[in-house]
């Protein structure tokens, strides 16, 4: 670790400005190149044949007719993917998800793929592939899947986390328990106890850009992949492992990304494209349809959650418990565990227990979705918190403030908190003008809190200064939410140059050391840290060049506001040398000026948010309109406030869609009924109010600028905030997300 990562309370001159985004013009003019925008000479079109069944044995795949079709250059099935996993179960799951191996595990599971000279030929070839299936019993509901009588998705799964270890197969891949104290003691002390069960349906991240890639892979094992991804280094490592390639021989370039939110952290069809390219010895372009994105990528879990909280009449919570059952699709996941870890993280609890179950179903493999698992847990917990406050006749915000976690609180997931921001976000909510706005007829207000961990990870950057003094910063974290602008601001701040002098590029995998995926709200936190150190590295070089130019020891040179200055009275005759002047002379003073840094950026700091939501519900139709929404969140230092606000607003917007409309609907036959944006409705601008934001800047002590991740936490409270608002508007507690018009009407009717 060459530099100290501690917060230094540095004064800023560039950081915090709302500068223009560097990628804006390209994106509005269509010049930006996304996953489907790359082409190569002689490229083929890849298409994937998918299972029409929820669960089926693949008895035979006959590709003979398709192979004879003129224009077909390669066909692959599970047999074309040898096992290079070395017994790594997680890798094998990934491989099996990319291409079925003997069994189709969900509607949409890939069973074969074709590369042909054009799309028409490829589609025709898919029709000529004859797959003989034997349908097997299926299960798509999380509670049903936990029953002993449920069809078992994998006969090798034994529930982990249970003693004694089970000897029979189950759909429960693991049980995780967190907490401390004794909840029986705590509930015995309570004056009021509320217990409720909640359900949330499966949703998709709904990114606008479908998965797409262009793959080449020659007989020598060298290849390239152009792909829309949140982590091209991870994709490189994963594809190399699955296909038996040398990591260094596979170059992966990330395209512009049209949204990911966790859904582009995993490979889905990229190994298939590479294998088609290897078999055909031609470049293969593979672009998913929207239907494929819904059916065969990684939505979030559907869940079933029991929450029980007790409190004394004075408003102190005495005990809290939750059982959280998370559907992980056809492969094991960690989603129930994350739900259990995050469920009570906002509160200071003496007695708490949360148990998470990860449950397999015949649905697509679940992937992360922005603060994965936390929104569903928060829906249950924050709903019961509101019910308790009402029972105790306390203001729901005051009740939360009274029980909020603080420095020194033992988090429900284990460790003791350092300085945290949940209290300040609740105080800001309490004092926000939104809370004083009077509500009208059929309107309701809801408040909810949310927590997310955030993390940093492996990061590597290069900073090169051109002879004209312009700066090129190369980073390896994909820009999913504006990090190029933020990182340019950081480089400009350190070097003392204008923002416009810095250009940030996302380097491919051959140009930098490994960078972890842009997930966990880490992009600006971790690449920002590496950029600071790389810039300081370059400044050291420039100070040495100035010292050499002046003929003085480098110890007598300081870097201030973009210029090298010679310190001391003996040097008072030496005029400062600007970055541009030093850069211009660089060819004759030692060559290129560059800075580099590789860092494991840990210490990201946990994050909290509190949201306020007003809704109006039409009691005749059950239709809900969000009429006002406010996000309050601790961002640490907001490098580029526009982007921070954009993250807050984006999370809230996605949460609104999740809370009110979005839902995977499966038929009795286990097939997905609404795999398209017409039937799976994400919110559009006209569905949303202006989402107000308040940024709290509580510095992260583990980052030189005090930066925290901001990208995920804002999706945690909306389900609960809207649930509380709708419940207050209609006078009936809503316990099932999405709160679609039929569900609201049914809840009203049931209550009557």
């Amino acid at each position: 670790m060459p530099y100290e990562t501690d917060y230094t309370n540095q004064k800023f001159s560039v950081i915090g400005n709302r500068v223009n985004r560097p990628d804006g013009v390209d994106k509005v003019t269509g010049r930006a190149r996304y996953g489907a925008d790359a082409s190569a000479a002689g490229q083929l079109v890849g298409k994937i044949l998918r299972s029409p069944h929820a669960h089926a044995l693949i008895k035979k795949i006959d590709t003979s007719k398709a192979e004879k079709l003129p224009g077909v250059k390669a066909i692959v099935t599970g047999d074309d993917f040898p096992d290079f996993t070395g017994g790594n179960r997680s890798l094998m799951d990934t491989l099996e998800n990319c291409m079925a191996r003997g069994r189709a595990l969900y509607d949409g599971h890939a069973v074969a793929a074709v590369a042909a000279v054009d799309a028409q030929t490829a589609n025709e070839a898919l029709k000529l592939i004859k797959v003989t299936y034997k349908k097997l019993p299926h299960v798509t509901d999380v509670d049903e899947a936990m029953k002993p009588s449920a069809p078992v998705v994998h006969d090798w799964i034994r529930t982990a986390g249970i003693e004694p270890a089970p000897t029979t197969a189950s759909n429960i891949s693991q049980r995780n328990e967190f907490g401390h104290g004794d909840i029986d003691v705590g509930f015995a002390e309570a004056d009021v106890i509320i217990e409720k069960t909640f359900k949330t349906e499966q949703t998709h991240q709904g990114y606008i850009e479908p998965h797409a890639c262009l793959a080449t892979l020659g007989p020598d094992g060298s290849g390239e992949l152009w792909v829309t991804t949140q982590g091209h280094f991870t994709f490189r490592n994963m594809c190399a492992s699955l296909l038996g390639l040398d990591v260094a021989k596979l170059k992966v370039t990330s395209s512009e990304i049209g949204g990911g939110f966790g859904g582009k952290t995993h490979v889905w069809m990229e190994p298939v494209a590479l294998q088609l390219a290897r078999k055909s010895n031609r470049p293969v372009k593979l672009v998913m349809t929207r239907e494929e994105v819904f059916k065969a990528t990684g939505p979030t879990s559907s869940t079933s959650v029991d929450v029980k909280i007790g409190a004394k009449k004075n408003g102190r919570i005495t005990a809290a418990s939750a059982e959280l059952r998370y559907q992980s699709g056809a492969f094991p996941g960690m989603w129930g565990m994350l739900g259990a870890m995050t469920s009570f993280a906002c509160y200071d609890l003496k007695h708490v227990k949360s148990v998470g179950y990860d449950v397999l179903c015949n649905r697509p493999k679940v992937a992360a979705y922005r603060a994965p698992s936390a929104p569903m847990a928060a829906f249950g917990v924050e709903s019961v918190i509101d019910l308790l406050a009402a029972e105790l006749k306390m203001d729901p915000v005051e009740f939360r403030i009274k029980n909020a976690a603080k420095k020194g609180t033992r988090a429900s997931y284990g460790p003791i908190y350092g300085p945290i921001g949940i209290g300040p976000t609740l105080e800001a909510v309490k004092n926000h003008p939104h809370m004083k706005k009077r509500l009208g007829k059929n309107q309701g207000r809801g408040v909810a809190c949310g927590f997310w961990f955030n993390f940093g990870g492996q990061t590597c950057t290069d900073l090169n200064i051109g002879i004209d003094g312009s700066v090129n910063l190369t980073v390896g974290t994909v820009d999913v939410g504006g990090s190029r602008a933020s990182l340019a601001l950081i480089a400009a701040e350190e070097l003392g140059v204008d923002y416009d002098q810095v250009r940030v590029t996302i380097g491919d995998t051959s140009s930098l050391g490994h960078n972890d995926t842009t997930e966990g709200s880490r992009g600006t936190f971790s690449s920002g840290m590496a950029t600071i150190f790389a810039a300081r590295n370059a400044i050291d070089v420039m100070k040495q060049r100035a010292a050499d130019t002046w003929g003085i020891p480098v110890e007598q040179v300081v870097w201030e506001e973009g210029v090298a200055r010679a310190k001391g009275r003996q040097n008072s005759n030496l005029p400062p040398l600007s970055l541009k002047e030093i850069a211009a002379k660089s060819p004759r003073t030692g060559g290129p000026i560059a800075g580099h840094n590789e860092v494991v950026a840990d210490g990201a700091g946990v994050s909290f948010a509190s949201h306020i939501c007003d809704v109006e519900v039409d009691p005749e139709t059950g239709s809900t309109r969000v009429i006002r929404y406010t996000v309050v969140q601790d961002a640490g230092k907001a490098i580029h406030p526009d982007y921070v606000e954009g993250q807050f607003q984006g999370g809230a917007a996605q949460g609104i869609g999740w809370a009110l409309n979005e839902e995977y609907i499966y038929g009795e036959d286990g097939t997905l009924q609404n795999a398209g944006f017409l039937d799976y409705r994400i919110p559009v601008c006209s569905d949303l109010p202006f989402i107000d934001t308040e940024i709290l800047e509580i510095p992260n002590p583990n980052h030189p600028y005090g930066v925290r991740g901001v990208g995920e936490t804002s999706i945690v409270p909306p389900l609960a905030a809207i649930g509380n608002a709708v419940s207050n508007a209609v006078g009936v507690r809503m316990t099932h997300v999405p709160m679609s018009p039929p569900r609201i009407l049914k809840a009203i009717e049931d209550a009557q």
Binding site: E177, T265, M334, M341, G520
Partner: protein, 80 residues
Amino acid sequence: MHIRLSGILCQATGGASTVEVSGATIGDILTSLVQKHPAIQEHLDDGVAVAVNGEIYRDRRDQVIPEGSEVFLLPRIEGG
């Protein structure tokens, strides 16, 4: 020094939620933990996180642990 564990990790220590370990860095104490409970190695290979006084470290094995710190071993976390 003690390291506390929760969740599925306790299964690898025979149910113990606290294990006495020695070492000056995260890497040292994880080595010490594996020596006492070899079954934890599988979880380390899959990835874990270590909270030192509430700060979560996923990868920094060279992180020095100050005297008297609370150390908590957590499952590795995925983000979106």
